[in-house]
Amino acid sequence: MPANLHDTIATAIRSVLSDTGRSADVIGAESLLSGDLGLDSLDLAQTIVLLERSLGVDPFRTRPADGSRPSLRTFGDLCSAYEVAAAPPDPHQP
């Protein structure tokens, strides 16, 4: 995972938490968004809008062609969604 993408996402989460006087010591790939970081659905929605503004993509806006919904349990899940959305299209895929 590119370190800067990871940092951008972690920074967005920290800023959402600080708006309500909360903080997170460690944000790692296995951190549970809800259980460990305390993000509720409004917090997550805010994070995604902030990231759309800084990264220019919202991986949750449109579902992938296979109709699957990306899993969103851990910080790692969140990062993967953005990695996929930011990746250049695979020339070998039809």
């Binding site: 708006d19 309500t20 409004l42 997550l44 929605a45 805010q46 995604i48 809008v49 902030l50 949750f60």
Partner: protein, 462 residues
């Protein structure tokens, strides 16, 4: 001529005689504006009718004598050219006044279209364009046969404000415009500030009202709060009609020393819902001014006027007909319904009200409601809370789309002079969490230099 000047009624223009005013009000409604210009010009030709470019070092004044002379000339041209309709291609208030007076008396339909309005239906293609020279080129094309000329249905075409969509062109009867003016003597010879767009319904009503009652229309050079405040002081404006948004901007951004010297007697708010904090701020800044707010819609015109200085309207208004005969109802979801008279259907207004004690207060437009994870948020309520935070001058609440919750509440904030965004951000969020349910607390906060208003002087919602 049996018209005489009565004793001075206000600093700028002496009151007109009762006989002169009676002659105006007794004339047929479509002749009334032309009769007013002529009658007042005979009595007081040098009385200022329009003061343009006010609030600057180079104001321009146009008197009733000039308007009356231009009216005679234009009516003669209309009689010769007999257009099927006239489109006003001018922004000058004095030209709009003369065009309206001439077209209504000559029974020629007139379109006064704001700059952002388009005639997409091409209904006005054969109409004659008249600019501020007020000269009509003689042309056979589009002329009406003389017999039909005086019998055509007289109407005035105006664009809607376009707060919640592109402006639509709506035709009104001359009656609805010219008969709506308040004619009792307390309204005579006043000086009106025109901060509304002169080519929209709200602005047209202001200059028609002023001209029918021998008043003066003061047009500030811009909507800059300091220019507006200076125009009020320089021209001794007595009546200020404005939207709550324009009023709030004047109070928060104009030089307080200039505001303190304003001699406003009446403030009429309309176009948007009024909130308690704004009314309190107006009372503090202009303690001698009577404040009223008007409830009107494009379809219904003015429905009622609230004069008690409180937001919303008394709850008992729902239990009996209003003085004009209209009745108010509410739907289960709080939407206000209006029935203008016994024989007409109820009209859904799109405005939501909520009973608080013995008042009904406006909570917002149905179309403005933001739905966050299934819960409703009224932008107006959130704006009131945000504006209550020290250091915040203005706020506009709107929605942003979210794949998780459908929508999220966003706010654009203007900080007061001497404050920085860092000073107010966390205090604002704490205050919002204290006052609002969690889904209504703004999640996306943007600090801006200024909040854009629509040409109608309202806050855009979408």
């Amino acid at each position: 001529m049996n018209v005489t000047l009565a004793a001075a009624g206000s600093a700028s223009s002496p009151a007109l005689s009762d006989a002169a005013m009676r002659r105006v009000f007794d004339s047929p409604v479509e002749d009334r504006l032309a009769t007013a210009l002529t009658t007042i010009a005979e009595a007081a030709p040098t009385r200022t009718a329009v003061a343009r470019n006010a609030g600057t070092d180079k104001p321009t004044a146009i008197d009733y004598g000039t308007l009356a002379a231009r009216l005679v000339d234009l009516e003669q041209q209309l009689d010769e050219a007999r257009p099927i309709g006239v489109v006003a291609r001018t922004d000058q208030v004095e030209s709009l006044i003369v065009l309206t007076a001439a077209c209504s008396r000559q029974h020629v339909p007139l379109a006064i279209l704001a700059d952002d309005a388009a005639d997409s239906g091409h209904e006005l293609d054969d109409w004659l364009s008249v600019d501020d020279t007020l000269s009509i080129p003689f042309t056979a094309a589009g002329s009406m046969p003389r017999g039909e000329f005086a019998t055509v249905a007289p109407t005035i075409w105006v664009a809607t404000s376009g707060t919640s969509g592109p402006p639509k062109i709506v035709d009104h009867s001359w009656e609805s415009l010219l008969a709506a003016a308040r004619l009792s003597s307390q309204w005579h010879s006043l000086t009106w500030l025109l901060v509304y767009d002169a080519k929209r319904w709200a602005g047209i009503q202001v200059w028609v009202q002023a001209m029918l009652t021998g008043g003066c229309v003061v047009v500030p050079a811009s909507r800059d709060p300091d220019v507006v405040a200076r125009a009020v002081v320089d021209r001794q404006v007595t009546v200020l009609p404005a939207t709550p948004t324009l009023m709030r901007r004047l109070l928060t951004s104009a030089d307080p020393a200039v505001l303190a010297t304003c001699q406003l007697e009446r403030i009429t708010l309309g176009g948007e819902a009024v909130d308690g904090p704004l009314l309190d701020q107006i009372k503090k800044t202009f303690p001698n001014a009577g404040v009223s707010h008007v409830y009107a819609t494009t379809e219904l015109g003015e429905v009622f006027r609230v004069r008690d200085g409180l937001p919303g309207f008394p709850a008992h208004w729902l239990t009996k007909p209003l003085p004009g005969g209209a009745r108010l109802f509410t739907r289960r979801d709080g939407e206000l319904l209006v029935q203008l008279s016994r024989d007409t259907a109820e009209v859904a207004t799109g405005d939501l009200v909520e009973q608080r004690g013995d008042r009904f207060e406006f909570v917002g437009r149905r179309s403005d409601v933001i739905v966050v994870g299934g819960a409703k948020v009224y932008p107006k309520r959130v704006e009131e809370v945000v504006r209550g935070v020290p250091g915040i001058a203005e706020a506009r609440v709107h929605s942003v789309a979210s794949p998780i919750t459908g929508e999220l509440v966003a706010v654009d904030v203007v900080v007061s002079p001497g404050f920085s965004p860092d000073d107010v951000r966390s205090g604002m969020l704490t205050h919002c969490r204290h006052e609002l349910e969690s889904h209504a607390v703004p999640r996306i906060v943007t600090f801006v230099e200024q909040i854009a208003t629509t040409p109608a002087g309202k806050v855009p919602r979408r």
